[in-house]
Assembly symmetry: C2
Homo-oligomer: 158 residues x 2
């Protein structure tokens, strides 16, 4: 394995950190998602879309904006929105400015479901993620996320 500045692959130590990181936070995520499903009957996809819409102007986003924001394929967004529309959580409307576009609107029941899910979801994040870490460890995770977003050319998140 080559080493030094032109090294193209991780060291054993870097790789061990990658594996510990990805495996651990996959479990964190799946535990928090299981609680969301159990407490609020929402999948993580439901939740992410409800969250994005609840923060959007007029509770409305273009479905293409949702796809970009989630980094999902458009077919996946479309399937997800179809299921949410059947449950009355969102409504899809033609986009006035673009005949080929589609607006996704948060419905009142969707907004209520999102609000009702908030407190138990926050508790799960606290129990599973925040309480595991010291304030310094938490701050380092924030810095690592910022550095990674910048490296990948993603927009800055506040």
């Amino acid at each position: 394995m080559p080493s030094g500045a032109n090294r193209q692959v991780p060291t054993q130590e870097e790789l061990a950190i990658w594996r510990a990181h990805i495996e651990t936070f996959e479990i964190v995520r799946s535990r928090i998602e299981a609680r969301l499903q159990q407490d609020s009957q929402l999948s993580s996809g439901d939740y992410r879309i409800l969250l994005a819409l609840s923060e959007a102007e007029g509770r409305t986003l273009r479905s293409s904006e949702l796809a970009t924001h989630l980094e999902w394929e458009r077919s996946r967004v479309s399937g997800q929105l179809g299921r949410m529309e059947k449950r009355g959580l969102v409504r899809r409307e033609p986009c006035p400015e673009d005949a080929r576009g589609q607006n996704v609107v948060l419905t009142d029941p969707g907004a209520r479901a999102f609000r009702a899910s908030t407190l138990p979801h926050l508790r799960a994040i606290k129990d599973v993620f925040v309480d595991a870490l010291t304030p310094e460890q938490l701050a380092s995770l924030g810095e690592a996320a910022t550095a990674t977003r910048s490296h990948l050319g993603l927009e800055h998140r506040s």
Copy 2:
């Protein structure tokens, strides 16, 4: 929102870090997975199972051990193994010690596919994850993963 020692929900700052962390590393993961699929025609599920088997004694694990290791439902493991068996990557056999158990064995083609995927996958991990971070940031991520595993009662990973 309550505050102080008995606080049950994250602060705004803790929550912002959670969101940045989960969203950023979801993108990291999906970019690395897309490269794995493109370079080696393996999904991340395929890869995790091939990796676990390649490190197991006799290249064999019980399917229940795989489910525990991956924290997947048994039905998901079973569906995944069925697809991999069709492609010749693994073989399922009755377990000699347990009539209800099943052994999963890495086949030679599975071992070859895993080996061939390694170098491009390591390059993707380097490009997308390692190169984003300073050595200090990487070390902090490792510490955070260790602290989280301990908090969640997971076994220590080397």
